[in-house]
């Protein structure tokens, strides 16, 4: 039987604010355990929450990027439950009035655009980290109170591919906005999947299964693909889907049952009494809007329409904010976008990868790469020379013009000069002229080689080729 797959995602995102959501304690990822805490984070008696304004601004920027309605009256609620990773015994969250609602995000899957609706974005705080060893449990409170945004999609996704495209697009949005590094492997971004199947075309939703805490985008895709297979096999056999929480097991590439959903927990949500409702002024939203960087969608349009890059090239650039920004910076000088894109995404990235470096740490200035690209565009140097120059730039940090000058690398593009050399070569190789007349194209290659030899490889290959062919015809 054929099924419609219904997938919704809940993403938790740690914000990269200097201090925590409700306390002044500084937070730095991977700090020594229990060094990024103050009395608020471990919920010592008498402490009170104090809202982090930067976190609110970052939430607003995401709401703007996701085209959401913004509730300008910020309100918080308590979610009450006892757990040893939750120092206060409650989490401060936005249950009743999320800051963002009714948003959407466009994803691009299999050559098509699809709009995914986003139900809500709300602000809350992270819990402590627990380590259960053989005899003891350890708690690291550094993460307790770190600002979190929860982004809840509508059940608009219908495959693992779509889900991974959606997360990737969100991740790009987060990094472009500069609100989080959004590294799933480090838990800065976490994903819970809700998935159900229903007979094709049916209006009735099937039983929902939740898959928790998947730690990479590819695992999200694999977990969903597996779950589709598992559920459709059960349904085919006439069996019922059990409402439960499962986890993805990377080793076996399957999902494994964690617990059944027996009557939801009563979190006794009620408005947080220590934070009065706060009215965000229009001016604050406008300030955030004015400071928003160009987002992937806008960049993509520019690359495709203004620069005529291919969808593939555009996506390679967009996948990494630093790469795209480097490209944009270099394009202020570079003449040929496609040439620059190739130089950047294959030559420079190749060189960086070879040296265990990355574009974030690249010492070659975008303007210098742009100059190199222009030297190539103007046929001042050959592509082979271009590679050498790039390598020299990397090692010495000199600008390409100086290197070309120093190494005497300028391409011979002067017609008269080239014609002299071509005539010399032709005179020295009557056999090759004969071969050419007999239809042996290889002869051209040989003679170009001779030209290159005489010019120490500095002849403009295209010009040399054109002139040689012309002269051969004349003989």
């Amino acid at each position: 039987m054929n099924y419609d797959v219904v997938v919704g995602l809940e993403i938790h995102l740690e914000l990269n604010t200097k201090t925590k959501m409700f306390s002044g304690a500084p937070y730095k990822f991977k700090s020594e355990a229990n060094t990024c805490i103050n009395e608020v984070d471990i919920a010592l008696p008498g402490t009170l929450p104090c809202l982090n304004k930067e976190a609110v601004k970052k939430a607003i920027s995401l709401c703007l990027a996701l085209n959401m309605n913004i509730d300008q009256l910020i309100r918080f609620d308590r979610k009450n439950y006892y757990y040893s990773d939750l120092p206060k015994g409650f989490q401060i969250t936005q249950q009743f009035h999320p800051i963002g609602s009714h948003g959407h995000l466009d994803i691009y899957v299999e050559n098509e655009y699809k709009t995914i609706r986003i139900n809500r974005v709300h602000m809350e705080e992270d819990t402590a980290k627990q380590f259960h060893l053989k005899d003891v449990s350890l708690i690291d409170y550094n993460r307790a109170g770190v600002p979190l945004l929860e982004i809840v999609s509508e059940p608009d996704l219908s495959s693992g591919k779509e889900a991974s495209a959606y997360i990737e697009k969100l991740r790009q949005t987060f990094t472009y906005l500069g609100i989080s590094l959004a590294r799933m492997e480090d838990g800065e971004m976490r994903c819970d999947v809700n998935i159900s199947l229903k007979p094709k075309g049916s209006d009735v939703f099937g039983t929902k299964v939740e898959i928790k805490n998947i730690n990479s985008i590819s695992n999200v895709k694999d977990a969903i693909d597996y779950e589709i297979k598992r559920q459709s096999e059960l349904l085919d056999k006439g069996e019922k889907i059990i409402q439960e929480t499962r986890r993805f097991d990377e080793a076996s590439m399957t999902t494994i049952s964690m617990r059944l959903k027996e009557g939801a927990v009563d979190y006794k949500y009620f408005p947080e009494p220590n934070i009065f409702p706060i009215r965000i002024p229009d001016s604050m939203i406008e300030e955030v809007r004015a400071n928003m960087p160009e987002l992937p969608d806008q960049k993509s349009k520019r690359y495709l329409h203004d620069y005529n890059l291919s969808e593939y090239d555009a996506n390679v650039l967009l996948a990494n904010k630093y790469l795209a920004n480097y490209f944009d910076e270099a394009m202020k000088i570079a003449k040929n976008p496609k040439l620059l894109c190739n130089l950047l995404t294959s030559e420079l990235i190749g060189l960086l990868t070879k040296n265990n470096s990355s574009i974030e740490d690249c010492k070659i200035a975008p303007k210098d790469l742009a100059s190199l690209s222009n030297l190539l565009e103007d046929n001042i140097i050959s592509s082979k020379q271009g590679k050498m120059v790039l390598e020299e730039m990397y090692n010495t940090l000199k600008d390409p013009e100086s290197i070309v000058k120093e190494k005497n690398m300028v391409q011979v593009s002067n017609e008269d000069e080239l014609l002299n050399i071509i005539n010399e070569v032709l005179d020295e190789n009557p056999k090759s002229i004969e071969d050419f007349k007999n239809g042996k194209d290889r002869a051209i290659g040989f003679m170009i080689g001779q030209i290159m030899k005489k010019t120490k490889g500095q002849a403009n290959p295209k010009l040399a080729n054109d002139l040689l062919t012309k002269k051969l015809m004349e003989r």
Binding site: S84, P87, N274
Partner: protein
Amino acid sequence: MKLENTSTAIKAYEKLAEVNSKLNCLVTSVKPAKEGIPIVLKDNVSTAGILTTASCRILENYIPVYNAHIVDKLNENGFACIGKASMDELAMGGTNLTAVTGPCKNPYDLNRISGGSSGGSAVLVASGVVPVSIGSDTGDSIRKPASFNGIVGVKPTYGRISRYGIIPYASSLDHVGYFTTCVKDAAKMLEVLAGRDDRDMTSSYKEVLPYSSLLNSDMNGKKILVFKNVTDAISNKEVINEFNCIVNSLKEKGAIIKEVYFDETLMKAILPTYYIIANAEATTNHSNLDGISFGRRVDGDSVDEIMMKSRTEGFGPWIKKRFVVGSYALFEENQDRIFRKAQKIRRMIVDEVMKELKDADALMAPAAPGKAPLINESSSDELTDEYLIADNHMAIGNFGGLPSMTLPMGYVDNMPIGVNITCNRFKEEDMFNIALAIENITGLADKTKEVF
């Protein structure tokens, strides 16, 4: 004893042991490192390096690593803390009988209660050990013991004094306040304690006035409301006589007196409304007391078991009862019917009072229906008008965040009784002025009952 008699902290500290042996009013005595104006803090005020138990077993070993905002303010202003005072467990009570250290006694009669929950703080001022002490007030926990001990008790406007570092009871009702022996000291203390604190988002940016220099007992044209529901509900004639004497004197001094009778059903709803909101907030506020990262831990085989055992052993039975009531009110299926309804009624009660108070300067009533009860007295019938209204009306000040204070009114059987005035938000100046006029009428400034 008055604030002016400064720098006697060490002398005051030396009296503590003897006073405590009679009144059982201390949790911890603190030897002052240097001289200063002696002060006592209720044991729910966080003091870095000094035991802070809130008179609760689960905190019997808890030593804060930080000072409450007001502790820093007091230190900056030349005060020296000499002790942490007994209170009802976690400030949940009005008798001070529930402290883990046992009942605190009234200096006027050791067989009678101090009242609570700030009982220890009250009796240390009433017995003349210190000129001022810090308390907290969620329903009437400063203003009731002030009445029973013949001193001044002040609960200013919500947000006027930072709550940062005060172990909470119910966040939306909790106020920090204090006891003094006279109105002038009360006005001075607010200058010391009030002001914005960025760590308490509910604290106010409003300017702190020089209340003590603004004091003015001129009552000409002052509009004072007499709270008829309360006076009608009080059966003790002597209390009513004392009260009427003050009202008449105020009238003679030019005050315009108006008797007001609020909706009786709403007034009878004060206590149940208070009980629901306070306990609901309390049960979640105290969810941090689980024996995990601080406090008294009882070992167990799992983290869950540690938390359950620590909480089971760590709280008195009355606290558990309040947690159960609070949780019940917050259950999703009950919230509309109980918790949210209580919040609506809270608003209705405040609106009912404000519609009169906004055109007046103060609402005035006896602070309690009578003198302090005996420690062994069985609790009164909780469904009489006298109990529901006369014994609990001061929670209106907490519902509305209104400034409210109690000061001595007179004596019944040689036991002090107090009068309460409640004013409009941030109108502490009015409150102190009317209180000063009353103090001039009664002549009951600086009355203490020494027990040493």
